[in-house]
């Protein structure tokens, strides 16, 4: 079930009414109801893979309980290994088996040897990378004694399968989300209203920005050899907005849906294209994944501690693993590598943690310096997206080669209206940069004006929605 469909528009209000009016008598009943609707939500794609979610949940629940009463270090390590092997094993089999086999064969072919090995016809279960990472983080946190393991299996199953964020995040931490399943939830008016605003914003980002960009992006990437450099550049530019609108839109609808059910999910995007360097970009883009890699890969590797060389190694590893997380293709690895290569200079000069505060606070217009910083960061990100979008590495290289020639100066054969629309959207983001989200317009005192803005957005969503496209991140 997609968030941007009539099906979900009916599903969510039904869940809302039953959740608050019928199953609100006992927390346990409410949680069981959430498990049922979450499993139904997932089954709408493919019920065959429900067993995987259940397996992953049960393994981590019992490993957590085992760790709770085990003091012996080796035994605790064994418990952790069981969880890692199960979750990463599922992920490796469904997502990476063919990739590794093919890469292995290609590697041998490079050295002149031929190898016979067969790949498998494997269907990738939707959202597998998201829920395995979420449940894995629970076990690791329990192992590290950062959180206490839960004894409440219903709450744990609901935590893993919670439908708003089950298939594409935000990848929640047990420390934030799990306690919300174990205490009585009260309806909060302002939080629910904010949830609806987020849903509206998310629908706008997905249906208007992402889906309209997708049509042009598909055309340009499919026929890249026939396009001018400027058209190719704008193809990548539109993809940058497609993936942003797509994923940020999904996250906003997820967070909004959770809000009206009384849950607070973590923010996943914070206007990333206003970042002034890559360090800031990664604090604003797919925040739940970036922080996951920070906490469970980067810091265990040593993080910022040790020599510069070690720090650089750690950064490399994190970006490469992050690339691979996105998909079983070398294009994603190279995408990660580009980000690593552009991030490392920031680590060397010590400015990766720079720009923690709002840009040009208190000013309407950005300074020239800020424009340059944002522009440069955006340009790097757009170039890297070419690899992310391309089918293979040679396709991406040819695309970039086609981009950088004299035809880059020619008039692009793309919709000027859409470019203008995206520029206007970015201006609005700039004006709202110090708010929690773009539709936080509580500073407008006039209620009719606020309502007019909401209706305008509803109208735009209805009228200018592009052809429905699947969410890009579902494939991850």
């Amino acid at each position: 079930m997609l968030f941007n469909t009539v099906d979900f528009a009916i599903f969510l209000p039904i869940v809302f009414v039953l959740y608050w009016f019928v199953f609100n008598k006992a927390l346990k009943v409410q949680n069981v109801f959430l498990i049922c609707v979450s499993y139904f939500f997932y089954a709408c794609w493919d019920w065959h893979f429900l067993g995987l979610i259940l397996l992953s949940s049960l393994v981590d629940y019992y490993v957590g309980r085992y760790l709770a009463h085990t003091i012996d270090k080796n035994k605790r390590k064994l418990g952790l290994i069981v969880s890692l092997v199960t979750n990463l094993g599922i992920l490796a089999y469904f997502k990476y088996y063919n990739f590794f086999v093919e890469s292995f064969i290609d590697g041998f072919t490079l050295f002149g040897a031929s190898l016979e090995a067969s790949t498998l016809q494997i269907i990738l279960p939707v959202g597998i990378s998201f829920y395995t990472f979420q449940t894995l983080s629970y076990t690791i946190d329990v192992y590290r004694n950062n959180i206490k393991p839960t004894q409440n299996i219903i709450a744990f199953l609901a935590f893993v399968s919670f439908f708003p964020q089950l298939v594409a995040g935000p990848i929640e931490r047990a420390s934030n989300l799990l306690p919300q399943f174990t205490k009585v939830r009260r309806f909060n008016y302002s939080s629910s209203v904010d949830g609806l605003k987020l849903i509206l914003l998310g629908l706008f980002q997905k249906m208007v920005i992402a889906d309209n960009c997708a049509v042009i992006v598909n055309q340009i990437f499919m026929n890249y050899s026939e396009q001018s450099g400027s058209t190719l550049f704008f193809g990548a530019f539109f993809f940058a907005f497609q993936i942003y609108g797509d994923f940020s839109g999904y996250s906003n609808i997820a967070i909004g849906s959770a809000r009206i059910l009384g849950f607070n999910l973590m923010q996943n995007f914070n206007m990333p294209y206003l970042s002034r360097n890559l360090g800031e970009f990664w604090r604003r883009w797919h925040i739940s994944l970036s922080t996951w890699f920070r906490d469970y890969v980067y810091i265990p590797l040593g993080g910022n501690r040790g020599s510069k060389g070690k720090v650089i190694r750690n950064v490399f590893i994190v970006f490469l693993v992050s690339g691979l997380w996105h998909g079983a293709n070398w294009t994603f690895v190279i995408w990660g590598l580009i980000h690593a290569l552009c991030f490392i200079p920031l680590v060397i000069i010590g400015s990766n943690a720079k720009f923690q505060s709002t840009a040009d606070k208190g000013r309407y217009l950005p300074s020239l310096k800020t424009i340059f910083q944002i522009g440069l960061t955006f340009f790097i990100v757009v170039l890297a997206w070419v690899f992310f979008r391309s089918e293979n590495v040679s396709h991406a290289l040819l695309y970039i080669k086609g981009m950088f020639n004299w035809s880059l100066m020619s008039m692009p054969q793309v919709s000027k209206g859409l470019i203008l629309f995206l520029v206007v959207y970015m201006i609005f983001e700039w004006l709202q940069r110090d708010k929690i989200h773009m539709l936080d317009i509580s500073f407008i005192k006039s209620k009719p004006i606020r309502i007019l803005i909401y209706y305008t957005l509803v109208f735009i969503v209805f009228y200018f929605a592009g052809n429905t496209q699947p969410f890009i991140y579902f494939q991850f």
């Binding site: 209203v193 026929n223 209706y455 209805f462």
Partner: protein, 306 residues
């Protein structure tokens, strides 16, 4: 909570009203589906020749030029899936039926059911042509409401068209699509051919599903002594050249093969027919009224010879 529900419903009220108006619009304004349904219901007992297919036969075969009583049941983007459903629904009631014409084209044989672009059509077939469409599940909301089948922008476009023409019906009382009158501007053909050929390239040559459907129709026709004309409809040469030639040949071969294998099947290949020139086309792949006349007369001569 009550306040939240009240305000949310109040906010959504105009949206719900618009949805209701859209529903009324789709259910009250006649379109090609409702009109063709009326036509076949009123003529099913007298029709001798029935034309199926998509826009190529909808615009390309005019029953006026057939000597037998002919009805054009083709429609824009009508796939073999729906041709078969229509055929099965009416065949037992069509006592006078002697011929059916089915186009086998580049877009026909490898056509996949339920593609995103045309997904909305199945609801109109089910609701307005009263077809039992197995593709639609009982829990699909669009089975019950046509308002959710189209994007709002498309509905507004239909509404403007309705206001302008006072109808959404694009065919005459024989079912022929009569809105493609003019010929294509010859300066635009190459660019248009490029765009349309790309659009039609589905990157698959798997004919198995549709071949099965075709064979099922042919078998029923054998049992009822009905002649089947399988036709490769004419298209403009610039467009034809840009198609995957292997797939084109595969379709032509299949048409001929079915013609050889079945006594009641006649295969007609008009793809390379030089009688069709650029001024017979409305665009890259659709005949205009002049081309439709020519094509209809050719097929009528074949029917008469049979």
């Amino acid at each position: 909570m009550k306040q939240f529900l009240k305000y949310t419903l109040l906010f959504l009220l105009p949206v719900l009203v618009i949805i209701l108006l859209v529903e009324i619009f789709y259910r009250s304004v006649p379109n090609n589906y409702t009109y063709k349904h009326e036509l076949i219901e009123s003529q099913k007992e007298t029709v001798e020749t029935l034309i199926f297919g998509d826009s190529h036969t909808f615009y390309g075969l005019n029953p006026k030029y057939f000597s037998s009583k002919t009805l054009n049941m083709a429609n824009v983007s009508q796939t073999l899936y729906f041709d078969k459903l229509l055929f099965e629904k009416y065949i037992s009631e069509m006592k006078n039926l002697k011929h059916i014409i089915i186009p086998l084209e580049y877009t026909t044989m490898s056509q996949v059911d339920n593609t995103q672009e045309d997904i909305w059509r199945k609801y109109f077939y089910a609701e307005q042509m009263e077809l039992d469409v197995p593709l639609i599940t009982w829990y699909d909301i669009r089975k019950y409401s046509l308002a959710f089948t189209q994007k709002f922008g498309v509905t507004v476009r239909y509404y403007k068209e309705y206001k302008k023409n006072k109808t959404l019906v694009g065919c005459d009382d024989s079912g022929w699509g009569n809105t493609y009158i003019s010929a294509i501007d010859s300066t635009e053909i190459d660019e248009l051919a490029k765009i349309i050929s790309r659009k039609h390239d589905d990157a698959t040559s798997d004919f198995s599903v549709n071949k099965k459907r075709l064979n099922s129709i042919i078998e029923t026709c054998i049992a009822k002594d009905i002649q089947v004309i399988l036709v490769n409809m004419p298209v403009s040469q610039p467009y034809l050249k840009l198609l995957n030639q292997e797939e084109v040949q595969g379709i032509v071969d299949l048409t001929q093969e079915l013609g050889f294998q079945n006594e009641n099947v006649t295969a007609v290949n008009l793809l390379y027919d030089t009688r069709f020139q650029l001024n017979d086309f409305h665009d890259a792949d659709h005949l205009n009224s002049k081309g439709a006349k020519k094509c209809s007369q050719i097929l009528n001569a074949i029917l008469e010879a049979n």
